[in-house]
């Protein structure tokens, strides 16, 4: 089954094509340069950019996959969470495309896409524990049966990737902050500066990074001579330590041997190295699938279609849901029966 998947949840216009679990193409046009001068994503600009790019990116994804539109069996798009103006562009385009071709449309939760990216090509089936850590999300899920996501913990404030972005700005490093902080950290010494360990005494499975970010700000203010490489190394070690420790404890308590690590922060080498020492069976996203992309949405949809976990009549009636938690299903318009039907 060939699925075209679209993600426009934030600042990347992304379309990917998959055949079952194999990625045929994955085109991501980043708006990072546009937003870099603001130090973060400007929602209005992002939406406008998506609208100007979406058709071209979809066309490129088909060309790179060597697939004609007529060969596509289903269309999928992220419905949430994300920036509503951005979500609406990819979702609206995908629904129009599906209706125009008379194809099934599958609305996919962004985080389910990230998880699917880590399952690409492999044979892992539930149960497993899943950590999603990106610029917008840091959440821990237990997946007991396929598609059944139970949230066991998550960040109480900033997402891990967001903390990297904010600390990068404090250190005068470019956006996005993940790669720039990680690169600087390689030249620094962990514990070369004093920074707190987040949520050291908790019994649950939550994360908190805003206190750590504030500690970096205070440290730089009080000690302008601090080696910023040491700050980067220590900050990264605290974030990685928190993510790995909480995930390991949750896996032990719940009794899971397999852990899926998804989201852009999964590309962080220090995080991978720390997870490697836990003895857990780890499943990281395939190269190119860690950060936001369309192929992961197509993979999630392909898995849903293969197992029959889809809405009868399709998801054409699904609205964008900017704050939708995973596991609570797509939001639907009031008259779902009248609008959820696909084209006959």
């Amino acid at each position: 089954m060939i699925v075209l998947g679209i993600d426009t949840s934030c600042d990347d216009t992304a379309v990917g094509i998959v055949r079952d679990r194999a990625v045929l193409s994955n085109v991501v046009v980043s708006q990072a340069a546009l937003h870099a001068r603001f130090g973060g994503v400007m929602p209005e600009e992002a939406s406008r950019e998506h609208l100007g790019l979406i058709d071209e990116v979809a066309t490129r994804a088909l060309a790179e996959a060597g697939i004609a539109l007529a060969e596509v069996d289903a269309v999928a798009a992220t419905y949430g969470p994300g920036l509503v103006g951005s979500l609406l562009v990819g979702l609206g385009y995908a629904k129009g495309l599906a209706w125009g071709r008379g194809l099934p449309f599958v609305a996919v939760h962004h985080l389910e896409g990230h998880v699917a990216a880590s399952l690409a090509g492999g044979g892992l089936e539930a149960p497993y524990l899943c950590l999603v850590a990106s610029g917008g999300h840091t959440v821990l899920f237990d997946v007991a049966t396929p598609g059944d996501f139970r949230r066991v913990g998550g960040s109480r404030d900033d997402a891990a990737g967001e903390a990297f972005d904010k600390v990068a700005r404090l250190l005068g490093l470019p956006y996005p902050g993940g790669p720039s902080v990680a690169s600087l950290a390689e030249r620094g010494t962990v514990d070369g500066v004093p920074l707190p360990v987040p949520m050291r005494a908790q019994r649950g499975y939550d994360f908190s990074f805003s206190g750590l970010k504030t500690a970096v700000a205070v440290l730089l203010e009080r000690n302008p001579e601090a080696m910023i490489a040491d700050v980067a190394a220590t900050f990264q070690a605290r974030v990685v330590g928190s993510l790995v420790d909480v995930t390991r404890r949750a896996a032990a308590d719940i009794g899971r041997d397999d852990v899926v690590v998804a989201g852009g922060v999964a590309a962080n080498r220090a995080l991978r190295a720390a997870f490697d020492e836990t003895g857990l069976r780890l499943h990281f996203p395939a190269p190119g699938l860690a950060t936001d992309n369309g192929a992961m949405i197509a993979l999630a949809a392909a898995a849903r279609l293969a197992s029959g976990r889809v809405t009868p009549g399709g998801d054409l009636g699904v609205d964008a849901a900017p704050y939708q938690p995973l596991g609570e299903g797509p939001s639907r318009p009031r008259d779902a029966t009248a609008t959820a039907t696909g084209r006959s």
Binding site: L51, L69, L91, G96, W99, P333
Partner: protein, 191 residues
């Protein structure tokens, strides 16, 4: 669904709280008569979720096969930024899916077409918040709309008191359907 050999043009406009749809089959050289179907519904915040269902039901109700659609026209505003983007995104997807061109059409002109009589001159306006409106002055001649004063954001007070004013009704998506047939460029002027 029965297949209809005659060509159809689809117009949609989502720049106001209304979803306005039109299907147009122009009079042909074969003597077929000009047929226009219209549908408008005030969806407000339900637009994104309900759009495709409304479109599907509208097209089916008039027995038009999607494959009979030859071009798509879409309202490019002015109006709600979100509404305009929902409409253009859907139109781009429809155009790619159906393999047809997508044309842009002004929403103030579509509003003038909805409200003015043949030969009449008047303003059409869409609320732009904070005491402002998007407004322009137009003359309707047949189904054509002549622009007498370009539509733009302006203080409401700039619309002369007592002038003929079209506001608060659904734009006529037939205007977008005609733009589709004319092959007008898609220039998102607003939003």
């Amino acid at each position: 669904m029965t297949s209809d050999p005659s060509p159809w043009y689809l117009g949609l406009d989502t720049a106001t709280p209304w979803l306005a749809l039109a299907l147009w089959s122009p009079a042909g050289a074969d003597g077929a008569t000009d047929v226009v179907h219209r549908h408008a519904i005030d969806l407000g915040r339900d637009l994104a979720g309900a759009l495709m269902g409304e479109l599907d039901a509208f097209v089916r109700a008039h027995d038009v096969a999607p494959e009979a659609l030859r071009a798509i026209g879409v309202g490019v505003g002015p109006g709600s930024f979100t509404g305009i983007r929902i409409g253009i995104a859907a139109a781009l997807g429809l155009g790619r899916g159906l393999g047809v061109a997508v044309a842009g059409a002004g929403t103030l002109e579509a509003l003038a077409l909805a409200g003015l009589d043949d030969g009449e001159v008047g303003w059409s306006a869409i609320d732009a918040r904070r005491g402002a409106v998007y407004a322009g002055r137009f003359r309707r001649i047949g189904d054509d709309i002549d622009v007498l004063e370009e539509g733009r954001r302006r203080p409401r007070a700039e619309v002369p008191p007592g002038a003929r004013l079209v506001e608060g009704i659904a734009p006529d998506a037939f205007h977008a359907a005609r733009a589709a047939r004319a092959g007008a460029p898609l220039l998102p002027r607003y939003g």
